[in-house]
Assembly symmetry: none
Homo-oligomer: 190 residues x 4
DNA sequence: GATGAATGAGACTTCATTCAT
DNA sequence: AATGAATGAAGTCTCATTCAT
């Protein structure tokens, strides 16, 4: 019986290197980038890449899941701070801002996922649900505080985030946020 | 020097058929669609396709230019109506709405253009300039009327339009417009 | 409307060259032989090979069909001679003999077809039916003449032919025929 | 000089498990089956498989040798019974029948061996010689008894066995035997 | 000018074999 | 001695582009 012993150290390292290389290359050159090139960038042979990810779609899906998990972590942290007294609208704005600043390029990966028809894995689904729960909490708090417009729903975030600028400068991201935020609030722009 | 005699009637017709087929197929299947399939859908042979467009990027660029020209026409009409007394903000909102409703799918083509690295042709540049002029007029008028926020520029429209939802239902497009408009105006949401 | 005009002369020539090269190489090196090598032997590029035969199985199936058609022609000729007065058992023995002598190696192709899971095409089915009809006629005639054992059926030929020696010398084939024929007749061996 | 100490008990067990798994899988899926899959079916890792059999051809050769040994045992037993008074032709027929019934699939393995170019090992040679000796004895006895045709040699058995139906029903095997036996005897079919 | 067959580089993927753990 | 991750050559197939007809 081969009970899954702890995975070998170098295998874990390789998986990480591959994911990183894949994220960077897909982000830079689009999903058309070859598996050989990803493998080379990760410093492994193609075979190794395929041992970890049986098909290209699996690799892309894993990169997406990886990113979604980080987003979920961020959203949950924001929700926690709100529960501890922070103003919800501020947290929402800051969350969106971080999304655009830090992981901007990764959204391109997500687009790539759609283009390539990668199945979203269970891992990704979980991350999405975690984000949804945290965001819902943030929105409700914001509405209770009178800042967030009462008809705003989770779907609105989806709509905006799926169409956020990813291949732009940080300044562009900030400006986009400025333009988009008023639609989520009860306030106009000053 | 071969001065361009008037092009043959069937050549013109072929060019049109090809552009139409390309728009539809790229919209439906992404930029990965093959040249053979586009040619087949247009009812011509690949060779003919290549006579009109020496490379795939040229074809995609032409589809984009085609679309940009129609957008320019629309924007100029809106500017004209504003000059004739129509309220600028209303025209702006309607313009954005039409963009999302009518030609939604074509934005996907534009995304494809980026993905495939298609150069924007001279034709496209002209259309972009026409649209820019018309939109600038609309924005200025809106600002003079006190509806459009004073810091809104042409670049803001680019930012939003480049990231408008294209693969969504009309309802999603409308909702997106609702969320985005307040950022362009001096008014908040009711 | 692209009604199938007569196929281009060079295309026909290429198809023939490909089939021939495929038969020889599969016969010599088994079905593991690469498509690139077949293409090279045929003097065309891989792409051409794939234009004619979309997948390797299609190519193998075509080679098999080609061979089956020649077998069918031979069987029908034998049946015709029998109808014209020739002794059925002699024709049967000669038919089997020719199969082993002339096209011996091609049986390897058929084995390859099974190994590779090639679908038998409609063309092949037709050839098989033609052969079946001709052989049935031969067997009936042989039974009427009292030479062929009354319980011999078409299936017996299938059984023997599917397991005939293909990669042996002509002498081996002849000996195999000597050993196998008595089982089909009412006579023993002298 | 590392004189072969007695092999470890588990090593022996592993070798047996591997051979069994290999026979079954090659029989079922042809020689294209992967080493990984054979290892998995045997419950060992690939590395272990390669410790026992340095190359795939060695494994296949071992499977063939294993089978040949069993055939040799069977042939020798039949020869012994004949020496003890049993009718030679009956033993020959029964021997062929057992070959087809019991170990039918293993013939597929032998075909695989040829396809893959596996060298016959010394072990296999020995088994073949044992079988040859036993069969020769059977044939001579049968000829002395007047049942087996005087010109039948060992090579004839090779010829027939190499081309016996392996992927058929037991009924097919029996029918094949019926068709083939008369060629070996001095009797015709009833 | 149109046709569509031919080209061939390059994509994804498999698998026999090696080797660090 | 066993494990299973890593290797990388090789295989099948795609598709933008060229060119003979």
């Amino acid at each position: 019986m081969t009970s899954p012993r702890r995975p070998r150290a170098d295998a874990v390292r390789n998986r990480k290197k591959i994911l990183e290389a894949a994220r960077e290359l897909i982000d830079a050159h689009g999903p058309g980038i070859g598996m050989d090139e990803i493998a080379a960038a990760a410093g492994v042979a193609v075979g190794t890449l395929y041992r970890h990810f049986p098909a290209k779609t699996d690799l892309v899906a894993a990169v997406v899941a990886d990113w979604l998990n980080r987003v979920a972590d961020d959203a949950e942290a924001a929700a926690a701070r709100t529960a501890a007294g922070s103003r919800a609208l501020d947290e929402i704005a800051a969350f969106l801002g971080r999304l655009l600043e830090t992981v901007a390029g990764d959204l391109a990966v997500k687009a790539a996922a759609r283009a390539i028809g990668a199945d979203t894995s269970t891992d990704a689904d979980t991350a999405i649900k975690r984000t949804a729960t945290a965001l819902t909490a943030l929105v409700r708090a914001g509405q209770a505080e009178g800042d967030v417009h009462p008809d705003v729903t989770l779907a609105d975030f989806r709509l905006l985030l799926d169409n956020a600028p990813t291949d732009r400068t940080p300044q562009a991201g900030a400006r986009w946020l400025t333009l988009v935020l008023p639609g989520l609030t009860t306030h106009g722009r000053p």
